[in-house]
Amino acid sequence: MHPAFAGLVTIVIGVGGCLCYFWLSNQFLDKVLFPAKGPNAGRNINRANLIRPWLFLFPALFALSLYLAYPVVETIRLSLTERVTQTDGTTVYEFVGLKNYAQMSSDPKFWEAMFNNMFWLIVVPALSTAFGLLAAQLTDRISWGNIAKSLIFMPMAISFVGAAVIWKLIYDARPPDTSQIGVVNAIYVGLTGNDPVQLLTVPFWNNFFLMIVLVWIQTGFAMVILSAALRGIPEETIEAAIVDGANPFQIFFKIKMPQIMGTIVVVWTTITLVVLKVFDIVFAMTNGQWGTQVLANYMYTQLFVSRDWGVGSASAMVIMLLVTPILIWNVRNARKEMR
């Protein structure tokens, strides 16, 4: 069968299956289980309406539990077991308690990843939100503001790996006396005459060079959300502040910013979540070498390179534990904003 045709059939079966499910299950509820006729018609209608939401929710709940809840449970289980190859060649999983966690915490690479992640956690959301706010404010009143905004937003459309490749080229260093194709080294060598620097191997600062990539991507997101929030501020409160004698900086920091604080927090925490899961950029640019390891890449290395399922799962649990509270807080804030 031609792949395009197979794809089409899959779509038809999928969409048709969904339609069938909703139609048939509602028919069953209304016609068979609680028919809206007979002596209990009124009661039946009420009961059917109590059940109906669950009919609509069921597919989503089912998929979520299969693809989210079950993997979490399985990861917890794996993080407490160790794979043992027996003498006859078969493998079994033995329960080892917290041994994987103990092993992980004695691994300096893990602590390097932990420290770096915390570092990312402070720098990236702060810079992205600050630049986003700045861009939103500066582009608000100018005629070409929308063009500037589109340009700043564009990196959002690039995948993390793509962005990583772009920035790898920007940081690229060629041997001395050949022309430098990396912008940074081209400028550096051109201005100072020194030898080019392998930027991604400079200890500690290379973390910053990686973070800049994510800041570059996330600034657009922060800008768009904050720009909408800034526009939502009633113009008259700003005019009242002008009449009250506030200067432009005071208006921005004391009148505008407090009014969009809720949105700033939501943007900040949303970016925090992205940062905690950061993987692609580090994987594609340094793969955690030269002191740039982060948790997600550590997990990947343990799981798929070292093939240590126990420690890999344990590090996955650490990431989940870090993400969950921020996620809950973020959802709460977002809901509060919507009200």
């Binding site: 409160t237 005019e239 009242a240 002008i242 009449v243 009250d244 004698g245 506030a246 407090p258 009014q259």
Partner: protein
């Protein structure tokens, strides 16, 4: 001394000429109302006085000083906005004291002035509250309080009552009138509501299409309108206009008669078919049609008049106004 002098003020937004040669004087302690239909430029004029917009040409003097190039906060004005424009993240006290803080006033002065203003406006119990915790009327009072504490030379009100419901609007109108008496301050008040203009003003400025149509005391404008627009704008129900040809054959002018000057009169000469009757108890408004023109008569007391009935209306000739084709009074 005059509180405000506007000399040949013009304002254009690009091609659009919004204010045209405005000349107005406001005396110290006077309550002046700018009134006109929406889009007539009255709010723009207020914003030019406040300094939120620059005049394209002409001079703005406040308290004798030329303020064309003075920022709003240094003009000695305070403005009350239509939407109150309270700072949602500050409590009532901080909302009221922000301007004083900006002026670098001492804590003692700030506390004293806020205390005085909040007492005047019955806001003493709400100083710790945030704007979202206040009712519409309370927010309005905070907005007024924010203006009072600055002790400005000139108060500017931009349609301050339009967000309040009818009952509250009447109360607040009285409060503003009382405030004017207590503070003896010069006030400029913008509204599209002719009732507010008539009840509050010492002097009314009627604006249309960016031009001053007439300036004068409420009764002066009511009794002596210079043109058909002013005559029709002030008074409720509005003045009736009908071709003078109704009464004397061949007269090209327009006659204006106020609804309360019309009366039931058998030899009145205006025969009309009743379309609608509003029984208000104290008054009866009769809306009738005579030769294709709608006429409203406001009759004192209660009258048994029915829809579809034909009535004969008359008026004292000295109570009629005559306007030429361009709408000028003749």
């Amino acid at each position: 001394m005059t509180a405000l002098t506007l000399t040949n003020v013009n304002k254009s937004f690009g091609e659009v000429h919004v204010l045209k040669d405005i000349n107005i004087e406001v005396e110290e302690g006077e309550f002046v109302v700018f009134v006109g239909p929406s889009g007539c430029g009255k709010s723009t004029l207020l914003r030019v006085i406040a300094g939120l917009e620059d005049a394209t040409s002409g001079e703005v003097h406040i308290g004798g000083d030329l303020v064309n190039n003075t920022p709003p906060s240094k003009r000695g004005i305070a403005m009350v906005f239509q939407s109150y424009a309270l700072y949602p993240h500050l409590n009532v006290f901080k909302n009221m004291s922000l301007a004083l803080k900006q002026e670098k006033q001492s804590k003692a002065v700030i506390n004293e002035r806020v205390a005085k203003a909040s007492k005047m406006l019955n806001l003493e119990d709400y100083l710790e509250r945030y704007p979202s915790e206040l009712s519409g009327g309370q927010r309005q009072r905070v907005a007024i309080g924010r203006a009072i504490v600055r002790e400005p030379k000139l108060f500017l009100f931009d349609e301050p009552l339009s967000n309040l419901d009818a009952a509250l609007r009447m109360n607040t109108r009285l409060e503003i009138a009382n405030l004017h008496d207590t503070l003896a301050a010069s006030m400029i008040y913008v509204t599209h509501d002719q009732t507010e203009a008539m009840t509050l003003a010492d002097k009314i400025v009627v604006l249309r299409d960016g031009r001053v149509e007439q300036i004068g005391s409420p009764m002066e404008l009511y009794n002596n309108p210079v043109n058909q627009f002013v005559a029709g704008f002030l008074g409720s129900p509005a003045m009736n206009f009908m071709p003078a040809g109704f009464v004397s054959e061949g007269d090209p002018r327009t006659i204006g008669v106020r609804p309360e000057d019309l009366r039931l009169q058998d030899d009145g000469g205006l025969s009309a078919t009743v379309q609608h009757v509003e029984h208000l108890g104290g008054d009866t408004n009769v809306i009738a049609e005579a030769k294709g023109t709608q006429i409203t008569a406001r009759l004192f007391g209660q009258h048994a008049i029915n829809q579809g009935q034909t009535v004969t209306l008359g008026y004292a000739p000295e109570r009629a106004y005559y306007f030429d084709k361009e709408g000028h009074r003749v």
